[in-house]
Symmetry: C2
Subunit: 220 residues, 2 copies
């Protein structure tokens, strides 16, 4: 197996943390999103959607979408379970994973991708010709704040988002918070439960599995 | 079990088709999105995210997010399988379900929610104070066209999107196409494979399981 990935993308970080929790490591092939390499023909022949990450199996089969890659790994390596073991747990993991994706990752993306110069003209991931819209910077900021508020309510009396243990939903939310902080949208002071949760899961060895974004942040 | 749902929302239609394929019917409680009922306190006490559908179990537990509801039903009623049976099938269903969601449902939503008067001020589902942005109408149209093109490529030599049989990915894509047609964004003439696929899955009894949107369309 090998994985096509980018040092900046939270979607790639999600998969690397998931794999680290399972004790899995695979070789990586870098594709630079800021450089536009994901929209060049070479990569489009690998994934026509122009998106990262892509997991390539030894027989050449390619799985795209972070959640699909995680689903595949969960089925082959069920322990420790990261996507729930009962019907209800599985549903709750999907539910909070998706909210973390829509309210977290997509909100920060809206803020970030409409603001920075290298992504001008490709605001929608994988789609050339989508121009930056200044009003979406502020909307992305507002949506990220709403994400934090929903997290705060949910985490007020719990350690983890979806079930009684660490799951894929925490990984997605963590990558959203990482990215928010990288983009300058810190956890608000009135969200102490989110701060506690974030501080706690950041001590997991898996959080260091793929330091790409933190390296970039340290560089300024 | 009961389900909170809206006659218009494709997310609700997804769950009803999924249930019909499994031979399951549950009572429904209507919440009007166009009327803003999903953002009133009564419904926010049921789902703080203000989103539909919500599946309520007999013990009062609530599952939000269409994909999470489907995951729960799949675990309890595995036949016929709609989310894959092998690790690779499960990954492929998630992969094409997610693309149908992001490229299809979200694209049509961008077109539709920025255009119609009743949704002014709540363009982002569940979020008050998000104003319509005229430029997003055209962007939504372009993204929907890209969705059709990706579908065409994938379906050129296959009957179903994700695996060799009908799955949840086809349901999501079908609801995206339904909604696109309702919004006036028809399947382009140069996408014959999508037209063939759509015509074929529309003959399934489940397609009629929840005629809300088609009723609305017939009303004009």
């Amino acid at each position: 197996m090998k994985i096509y990935e980018d040092d900046l993308a939270p979607s790639c970080r999600r998969v690397r943390i998931f794999m680290a929790e399972k004790g899995i490591d695979v070789s990586g092939s870098k594709v630079g999103i800021l450089q536009g390499e994901n929209l060049e023909q070479e990569f489009l022949s690998i994934n026509p959607y122009g998106l990262l990450p892509v997991l390539e199996l030894d027989d050449g089969t390619r799985i795209c979408e972070s959640v699909a890659i995680c689903r595949y790994i969960e089925a082959l390596h069920p322990n420790p379970p990261l996507m729930g073991t009962t019907a209800l747990e599985q549903a709750f993991v999907d539910m909070y994973d998706r909210r973390s994706d829509f309210d977290g990752i997509l909100a920060v993306a809206e803020f970030f991708r409409n603001a920075i110069e290298p992504l001008a003209g490709r605001v929608v991931p994988g789609v050339r010709g989508t121009e930056q819209i200044p009003a979406l910077i502020e909307r992305g900021r507002q949506r990220t704040l709403i994400f934090f508020r929903h997290m705060e309510r949910r985490l007020a009396d719990r350690d983890y988002l979806a079930t009684d243990r660490f799951t894929n939903a925490d990984i997605t939310a963590m990558c959203a918070v990482d990215w928010a902080e990288f983009a300058g949208l810190d956890i608000p002071a009135d969200c102490p439960s989110v701060q506690r949760w974030y501080g706690q899961i950041n001590t997991r060895p898996s959080a260091q599995a793929w330091p790409g974004m933190k390296v970039l942040a340290a560089r300024g």
